[in-house]
């Protein structure tokens, strides 16, 4: 290569290198959100990278370079640089920003090396026409950027597995040494809330460890144990999420539960499991892990959960519920919602306890029944447990009522299932308000039933809310259909994004109004994901 010919190459390589770096960061954000799972990431990516303007700029450069070599190279350099700068930094933008953990950094580093190698390999394949090959290489790298990340992750997989195993072994050793009484909680929904409520009660009986938020994977629990579990902890409440059959079993090996709660078995994440039977099988791994003579507390209102209870013959089973016809150990009665909270009665055998909690929503009150049942069985005085319910604090974004300038906001962004959706509608209908609004993208991951479920929710919302804002594409048609069923199409407003929904609301809200913010999809499902540039906010 002579000095003369290396200039165009540099003019292509340097801005393009910067652009690829930015793109890798952008894709990495979503890869991270998908838990570095290749299939799920690919399902999000689809052909997205072919819509990257940088790809087409590279193709155009390749086509034009024969006739206008200088123009093609200079324009390419300028445009790629511009595209790189226009791309929002995923570390600072978006709902869930890219968190450059050590793992993400490793993936990024290896992916960068792979990208350079790929680019150089294409270049090397056409030694006669280097500049044109450089355009071709740029097009290939742009198109394959998401795959490059996957490749990088695959290269690192043995190392990551090794690291994770080491951490797990360390965490398991800590658990064995400290020997807290472990309570596992699983279910299709209500896990995090039940965990928080139970931990809240147990803290008054002894030092209790429970992760805040919804840490519920093997990796999350491992990390939490290594960072937080210390000698002196008497109880540990572990939320166990099931992403596939076997995941709860593995968490139970790390944290062998002395007792368990199954909050509900329903249709959440049906897409991931394939069938309802498979979900029951996955959740029953917790029941199997409870030792002989141990305690299993089960929500009898959920038929799937009852199936698990019937199968658990090796341990003591206690049932709680509200509607179930089974003989219950704890029955929920007389639920009443006010803006300050919920009053209700818990009936256990002969005794009936009048309770009050600042929390709202029927499912949450049912979770309280489960937590109190377990706490009482674990030796906490029922009076103390009931007293503790008064000091529960709403979890942010889980049916949290916030008053702002006379407007009642019911924030339920973390809910993602139809049960919670209906609960929010029930609460907003019970609270006094002049007008009621709902902003939601609907519920997702329901497989073939998704359309019908959202259509039904939309119909119910139309009966309660004066206006419903359906956010993004995922369930728009189902919501239109639902409102049509209810004969209230005029009450439905379609908006492309969450920020757009807020803008719409802000212009219209008056004192005395109530708004539900229901479910908040990860970035993945919003139309304007803003991977390549900042999406302009369109007026509706």
């Amino acid at each position: 290569m002579t000095d003369r010919s290396s200039w165009p190459l540099l003019l292509i390589a340097v801005p393009f290198g910067y652009l690829v770096w930015r793109r890798l960061l952008a894709y990495l954000r979503y890869f991270q959100q998908e838990g570095y799972e290749h299939l799920r990431f690919i399902r999000w990516v689809k052909l997205r990278s072919l819509f990257d303007p940088a790809f087409w700029v590279s193709v155009a450069g390749g086509l034009l370079v024969a006739r206008f070599p200088l123009t093609a190279v200079v324009c390419f350099g300028a445009v790629t640089m511009l595209l790189a700068i226009l791309q929002p930094d995923p570390r600072r933008s978006g709902k869930i920003t890219l968190n450059l953990t050590w793992r993400a950094t490793r993936v990024l580093a290896v992916a960068s090396v792979l990208a350079v190698t790929l680019w150089a390999a294409v270049l090397g394949a056409y030694p006669d026409s280097e500049v044109r090959a450089a355009f071709l290489a740029s097009a290939v790298v742009t198109a394959l950027a998401p795959l490059v990340l996957i490749m990088a992750n695959a290269c690192l997989a043995p190392y990551e597995r090794h690291v994770q195993r080491t951490y797990e072994a360390d965490a398991a050793r800590r658990v064995r040494e400290i020997r807290p009484l472990i309570i596992g909680i699983t279910g299709s929904y209500g896990k995090s809330s039940t965990k928080a409520i139970l931990a809240h009660i147990l803290q008054f009986a002894g030092p209790t460890l429970a992760a805040s938020g919804s840490i519920n994977t093997l990796m999350g629990v491992t990390r939490h144990i290594r960072e937080e579990l210390v000698f002196g902890h008497q109880f540990m409440v572990v939320e166990m999420g099931a992403f596939k059959t076997g995941s709860i079993r593995r968490i139970c090996q790390l944290t062998p539960p002395a007792a368990g709660i199954i909050t509900a078995v329903g249709d959440m994440h049906l897409e991931r499991f394939g069938s309802a039977d498979e979900i029951v099988r996955a959740k029953s791994e917790l029941a199997s892990a409870v030792p002989a003579g141990g305690l299993l507390v089960v929500n009898a209102d959920s038929p799937g959960a009852v199936r698990i209870a019937l199968g658990a013959t090796h341990c003591r089973v206690k049932l709680y519920g509200e509607k179930s016809t089974e003989k219950l150990d704890t029955r929920l009665e007389q639920v009443r919602f006010t803006r300050k909270g919920t009053s209700f009665v818990l009936r256990t055998g002969e005794a009936a306890f009048s309770c009050f909690t600042p929390l709202l929503g029927r499912p949450i009150i049912l979770n309280i029944a489960g937590a109190v049942t377990l706490a009482a069985a674990a030796g906490v005085d029922p009076e103390l447990a009931i007293a503790a319910l008064r000091t529960l604090k709403p979890v942010p974004n889980r049916l949290e009522v916030v008053e702002e300038r006379g407007v009642t906001w019911i924030r339920d962004a973390y809910n993602s299932n139809q049960l919670g959706f209906r609960a929010a509608l029930e609460v907003v209908a019970a609270l006094p308000a002049t007008r009621r609004f709902l902003a939601t993208p609907g519920v997702i991951e329901l497989g073939p039933e998704q359309f019908d479920v959202n259509r039904a929710l939309s119909r119910e919302a139309a009966a309660v809310c004066d206006s419903t804002l359906v956010v993004a594409e995922a369930n728009r048609e189902a919501f239109v259909a639902g409102h049509r069923d209810a004969g209230r199409e005029a009450r439905l407003v379609s908006v492309p994004s969450r920020s757009e929904a807020f803008r719409w609301l802000r212009d219209r809200l008056k004192e005395g109004d109530a708004v539900i913010l229901e479910n908040d999809l990860p970035d993945l499902y919003e139309r304007s994901a803003g991977v390549f540039w900042k999406e302009p906010v369109r007026a509706s």
Binding site: R91, T97, A205, D381, A387, A388, R390
Partner: protein
């Protein structure tokens, strides 16, 4: 200041406490108020994990929004080991930039609540022989504990509201307290009572209870934050009166102020520190955001003077330094003044109280005086005799 050479002043803010955000607001105020002609100010941010960070980003309030500062743009620092080094050096890690050690002349802790206002950081600075503005370990630790402060104050003849203290250890001894405590409180004070954590500043965990149920809930609520609950009769028709005291050559009391709040409940955390569309007086930053009246003339002059005098009494009793804010309660029905609590590191260093008669000091002037005082105290303490007398020298 003695000597004209510019000082390097490290302002510590943030911290592992409920009042982290308040501290960041106060810290930035102090940082920007330091006289650039006389000192080089260095912001040191202490995060929730008690790690110390240094960097230019820390000058800006925006840095602290949404998840806190971008750590990759900061350098983690620690106090160099050994007495008297008074130097911040980059902390461990294999990628640290060498040579970024900073020799600090005076530290200004602007930390509120646990680990910062309770003597912990002060103890660390003492171990390093560093000069710092504000109360030392003892005064900080006592001031943080409302029960001990009240007991000491009462013994000196300062009027206080009677109290019952209730230890978290009771949870280990069965559930009988659920009935006994309300009965005891009813006998002693009647209803309503105010329940508060013994060891927290701010209003977190404070509630008013008018029934046994509410009392138990209030106590449990405190036990989420603290290991000791304080129960006092709730003065229904109450007013609050605050005075700041500065430890200069002798304690100097500021003008009094009356924070204006709702009558039925004590200041909640958000009322104290956020302004929610209400009219504000003075600066909109931090504590100054609440609606307040300086030197309330509706109140008898004798009462205002008495508060100022009692404030300096408590300040001296505890051996405070720097700025403290001493809070009083007035029972409007009985026209009685009670000492309530002392904040040894108040929000914004209560600077707004010095901006009125009789002082008219700016925060900049006030800080200069305090820094000078801190240097003198540190030098004095260094000069204290540390050579053991002959009978203690066993190993020579």
């Amino acid at each position: 200041m003695t000597g004209n050479a510019p000082r390097t002043i490290a302002v510590l803010f943030g911290g592992r406490s409920l009042e982290h955000d308040v501290s960041v607001v106060s810290g930035l105020q102090v940082l920007h108020a330091l006289d650039p002609a006389r000192c080089a100010a260095l912001p040191i941010y202490i995060d929730h994990a008690n790690r110390w960070w240094m960097g230019d980003d820390l000058w800006h309030r925006e840095t602290f929004k949404a998840g806190g500062p971008d750590r990759s743009r900061l350098t983690e620092m620690m106090l160099a080991p050994g007495f008297g080094a008074s130097t911040l050096v980059p902390a461990g890690g294999s990628f640290h930039v060498p040579g970024r050690a900073a020799r600090i002349d005076v530290f200004v802790p602007v930390l509120h609540g646990t680990f910062g206002e309770d003597g912990c950081v002060q103890g660390l600075l003492d171990l390093g022989g560093c000069a710092y503005v504000g109360s030392g370990v003892l005064a900080s630790a006592i001031g943080m504990n409302k029960r001990v402060t009240k007991a000491l104050a009462a013994q000196t003849g300062v009027p206080v509201v009677p109290w019952l203290s209730f230890d978290r250890g009771v949870l280990e001894r069965g559930a009988s307290w659920l009935k006994e405590l309300p009965a005891r409180v009813e006998d002693t004070f009647g209803w309503p009572v105010i329940v508060k954590p013994c060891n927290l500043g701010s209003s977190a965990g404070v509630s008013v209870a008018a029934s046994p149920d509410e009392l138990v809930a209030g106590v449990l609520n405190v036990f989420e934050y603290d290991v000791e609950a304080l129960i006092e009769p709730f003065i229904t028709n109450r007013l609050e009166l605050n005075v700041a005291v500065a430890g200069l050559d002798e304690p100097v009391a500021s003008v009094t102020e009356m924070p204006v709040t709702q009558q039925e409940s004590p200041l909640t955390f958000s009322e104290k520190y956020k302004k929610e569309g209400r009219k504000t007086v003075g600066s909109i930053e931090g504590m100054a955001g609440a609606l307040r009246v300086l030197d309330p003339e509706d109140l008898p002059l004798e009462m205002r003077e008495r508060a100022r005098q009692l404030a300096t009494t408590v300040f001296s009793l505890l051996g405070c330094e720097g700025i403290s804010r001493v809070d009083f309660l007035i029972d409007a029905d009985r026209n009685a003044l009670y000492f309530n609590e002392i904040n040894t590191l108040p929000g914004s260093l209560a600077f707004y109280l010095w901006s009125a008669a009789p002082h008219f000091w700016t925060l900049t002037e006030l800080l200069s005086k305090l820094i000078q005082r801190a240097e003198r105290i540190s030098a004095t303490r260094r000069g204290l005799q540390r050579r053991p007398p002959a009978e203690l020298r066993l190993l020579t």
